[in-house]
Every structure is written in structure tokens, then in C-alpha cells.
């Protein structure tokens, strides 16, 4: 099977500050890869590079075998790769539902909007149905007619996941999808993501919540100071000395060990 996403030897520095030094990572179809690492190790930056929001200094990003390193961000999305942001901000004069609908980008030209041929009408109906389903699944239905900026921090996180899903991506990249999300809801997100995997959507997830990682991820990659220090199954993490040292810390590792035992 072909690798879905193949990130090779990425280097990236901001001014004199070297953030990524030869990071490589791949995602196979059907995988949910967790991207872990201490704060500031370059996880979000790696995501930015992969999704075209930042340009790497050197290295290559391939998606389904095609080199996408120089494509603009919006083109990459069109290839089937959607992402969310770590700190989501939402428009203030569009409702939650509208933002979700907007995430379906098919047929948004001037002419198709003016003429509204059948294809457009069908796409619209379909999008509306899908959006409602997604919002329902993420418990956003009560706020769906509110301005998207006026919902709480955690709800914004959920909304951005809904938006990413609207694009029906092949690969979903989530930057800390559950930070600030209520534990009960976190459970729902876990289920949603697993269901998506069942539908063949691969995922690359940056996350700090180890419970979540263990439940969702099929493989974990740990980044430290811009380099990959571990690539293993989630349950092997807590016995990996470098990961403990840089990321988990003694206490968390112990706790995890205890639970595993």
C-alpha cells in the first residue's frame, strides 16, 4: 500500500531559531498517527508545513505520492487534506451552521451562485444535511444559530472539527482537538474519530492527553526539539526513556504504567 502522507527530512527555522531539524514522518492509509512532543518542540509547525501554511526551508512533503511542498494551502486542501488549528477563532457575523456549510467548498463561483443550476441545489441540500448531522454529533445543535464567535472556547474546537470533516478529507490533521473540551465530549470525539477511521479517513493528531492518545492512535511519533525521537505503538510510550525524559515526565509515566499493569 502507498503511503498517504510522507514528510521527509523537514528543516525549518524562524530567524535564528531552528524549530525543525530533519523531521520525517509518514501516515499510511487507515492509520491514526499521534504526533506528540513537549511544548514548543515543533508539532504545530510541522503541521503547518504539511498543510502549506508555512514553507519549509528544505525537505519534502508528498501526499499520495505527489509532491505538495510548494503548493499553496488551499490547493492542498483540495487534494484531500483538512486541518484544524490549535487556537481556533471564528467569524462573528456568521452563524455556527453557516460556518459549517461554508466548509463545503464545492461550486462557490459567481455564475453557479447566480444561476443555481440543479447541481448546486443538490449540493446545497446535501451539505445542509451533512452539517446538521455533524453538529448534532458534536453536541453543537443548541448553539447552531448563534454567531460562531460567541460560543465557548471548547465549542469552537468542536466546530473546527466539524468544518474539517465537511471537506470529506482523506487525511485529517487535528491540532489538539480536545484541549479545553469537556471530558464527556472527549469521549464522543474519540468515538467519532474511530468511526471516521472505519470510513477510511486517516488522521494525524497532535494531542497531549495520554488517555486520548492511547484510545485513538494506532501509532505515535514523538518530536523533541525538531527531531523525531520515537515512533512506536502508544502503549510502548511509557517505557521509552527519551519520551519520558522529554515529554511524559516521571509521574505521568508511572501513572500510565500503573494503569497498564
Amino acid at each position: 500500500m502507498h503511503t498517504l502522507l510522507d514528510i521527509q527530512n523537514i528543516h525549518k527555522a524562524f530567524g535564528g531559531n531552528v524549530v525543525l531539524q530533519g523531521a520525517s514522518l509518514n501516515v499510511m492509509p487507515g492509520e491514526i498517527v499521534g504526533l506528540l512532543g513537549p511544548n514548543g518542540s515543533g508539532k504545530s509547525t510541522l503541521l503547518n508545513v504539511a498543510s502549506g501554511f508555512a514553507r519549509s526551508d528544505s525537505g519534502e512533503v508528498r501526499f499520495q505520492g505527489e509532491d505538495i511542498s510548494r503548493l499553496p494551502a488551499h490547493r492542498i486542501v483540495q487534494h484531500g487534506m483538512a486541518r484544524t488549528f490549535q487556537l481556533p477563532s471564528m467569524p462573528s457575523r456568521m452563524s455556527v451552521l453557516e460556518v459549517t456549510l461554508a466548509a463545503d467548498t464545492r461550486l462557490h463561483g459567481v455564475w453557479s451562485t447566480l444561476l443555481r443550476p440543479r447541481a448546486v441545489r443538490e449540493a446545497e441540500a446535501e451539505a445542509l444535511q451533512q452539517a446538521n448531522q455533524l453538529l448534532d454529533a458534536l453536541l453543537l445543535t443548541p448553539v447552531k444559530h448563534l454567531a460562531a464567535s460567541a460560543i465557548s472556547g471548547g465549542q469552537k474546537k468542536l466546530l473546527s472539527i466539524a468544518c474539517a470533516l465537511m471537506a470529506r478529507p482523506k487525511l485529517l490533521m487535528l491540532d489538539e482537538p480536545t484541549a479545553g473540551v469537556h471530558p464527556n465530549l472527549r469521549r464522543d470525539i474519540v468515538q467519532t474519530l474511530q468511526r471516521l477511521r472505519g470510513q477510511g479517513i486517516s488522521q494525524l493528531i497532535v494531542e497531549h492527553d495520554m488517555h486520548f492518545v492511547r484510545e485513538v492512535c494506532t501509532r505515535c511519533v514523538v518530536l523533541d526539539r525538531g527531531q523525531i525521537v520515537a515512533d512506536c505503538k502508544p502503549e510502548e510510550l511509557s517505557s521509552h526513556p527519551q519520551v519520558i525524559e522529554a515529554y511524559l515526565g516521571r509521574a505521568a509515566a508511572d501513572a500510565a504504567q500503573m494503569k497498564a499493569a
Partner: protein, 246 residues
């Protein structure tokens, strides 16, 4: 002495909201005793941040009263409270000065201290949070999500406030840093005798260092209890804290 003087924070029947039509907080009462760490839990959008903002003074309560250390602070603007050393506040988002460097962010936190004192305090915090030491000269906008979180906490701690309001201090922190941050919060409480009111989604970790907790639900208090009780009761975990079926 009236009963209030026992409390560092005393919120009584507060009603507040952003627009005139909608109340987000619908009559909330809570207290924080001196040297106590109190945790607020609750689903997304139930009004936790709003509560914190109201206590800090960004929103005026429509009804009810807010006392901090015996002083009625319902109508006092935030900056006055911070200046007088009453209060430290870490917002949930947008919690650093992006165009200023890390050092300047900290220095702003200590702007009402003497120069020497301020420099010393920055050194202290940098030893506690080595992440910051590495980034002192970088503009805060360039920091990663977790680094910002640490920075904003450190900034609030600069003037050694007596009461600290934290909105999800652990969001986006790596497990190791998270442990360090919670460790530091409870250490600060022990060393400096401050009281802390914090909002958390990371319920299990947060309860570990808290004394008491409130669970909010749509703008009202649904439950209040000792942290230890909450942690150890399976049905409460199931209902409110996202305990997982194993």
C-alpha cells in the same frame, strides 16, 4: 467581624451576561477560603470563563455581589484590582502580548514592583519554568501554544497576587509541563499563601491539587464538594468528570 472575612472570594447570587437579553450566569454563589485551591468544572459553554471574567471585573454583575477579601469589588475595574495586588488573572485565550518579547511580558506583570525586585522575580520564574528561559528574547506571538500558556501563568504570578484566577491553565500543556504547572500552583499556594480559583477541563489532574470543586451546569452550580470526594465517587466521575468505562 462578619462571616465574610473568612473568605478570599465570596460570590453571591451573581447574574451576568454579555448582552442585555441573555443571562449566561444565572445566580451563582461560590466561595474561596484563604489558601484554598478551588476548581470549577463543567461542560463547554456552561459559563465557566464568564464566571471568571465577572469575578475579575471584565463583566459587571447584573445582580448579586462579589467580594474579594471583604471588599465589594463588583464595580471596580480590573486594572485597579491588579494594581493593588488583589488579583491575578490568566484568560483562557489571547493570554500573551504577542508583539512584546517574553521578557517584556514578564516585566509588565511586574510593572508595579521595584526594578531589582522585578528582575529577581523573573529569574525565579525562569528557574521554575525553563521553557521561558530559552525564549526570553522572542516575541510572544512566536511562542507555541503551550509556551504561551506557561508564559501567561508566569506573568500573572509576577506580582505575587493574593488571589489568582486561572482559566484552563493546563490546556495544551504536555503531560510533563502540566505536572510542573500544577505542582507550581500548589507550591505557590503553600509558599505564598495565595488562594486560587481555576477553571479546568482536565478534571482528574486538577482535582488532585484542589481542595474543593464546583460543577457548573448552564449558568448555575450543579454540585459542590471536596475534591477528594468527587474524585473517588464513581458515579460522579461518570456524570461530571468524564470518567471512562474501563
Amino acid at each position: 467581624m462578619n462571616e465574610r472575612s473568612e473568605k478570599d472570594i465570596d460570590v453571591r447570587d451573581v447574574v451576568a451576561g454579555y448582552s442585555a437579553e441573555v443571562d449566561i450566569l444565572r445566580g451563582i454563589s461560590l466561595t474561596v477560603a484563604p489558601r484554598e485551591i478551588v476548581c470549577i468544572l463543567g461542560p463547554n459553554g456552561c459559563g465557566k470563563s464568564t464566571l471568571l471574567k465577572t469575578v475579575a471585573g471584565f463583566l459587571r454583575p447584573r445582580r448579586g455581589s462579589i467580594h474579594i477579601r471583604d471588599e465589594d469589588v463588583g464595580q471596580i475595574p480590573v486594572h485597579r484590582k491588579v494594581r493593588s495586588g488583589t488579583l491575578g488573572f490568566v484568560p483562557q485565550t489571547d493570554n500573551v502580548f504577542g508583539s512584546l518579547t517574553t521578557w517584556e511580558n514578564l516585566a509588565l506583570g511586574g510593572q508595579f514592583m521595584s526594578k531589582a525586585d522585578c528582575a529577581q522575580r523573573i529569574d525565579e520564574l525562569c528557574t521554575t519554568y525553563p521553557v521561558l528561559a530559552r525564549k526570553l528574547g522572542a516575541p510572544a506571538a512566536s511562542l507555541s501554544g503551550g509556551e504561551r500558556q506557561v508564559l501567561s501563568l508566569a506573568r500573572a504570578l509576577m506580582p505575587r497576587p493574593r488571589v489568582l484566577l486561572l482559566d484552563e491553565p493546563s490546556a495544551g500543556l504536555s503531560p510533563k509541563t502540566l505536572a510542573e504547572v500544577f505542582e507550581a500552583i500548589s507550591a505557590t499556594r503553600d509558599k505564598e499563601g495565595i488562594s486560587v480559583l481555576m477553571v479546568e477541563q482536565n478534571a482528574m489532574e486538577a482535582l488532585r491539587i484542589s481542595d474543593r470543586a464546583y460543577v457548573l451546569s448552564i449558568g448555575t452550580v450543579a454540585l459542590e464538594n471536596k475534591a477528594r470526594v468527587l474524585m473517588n465517587s464513581p458515579e460522579m466521575r461518570e456524570l461530571y468528570l468524564g470518567g471512562r468505562p474501563h
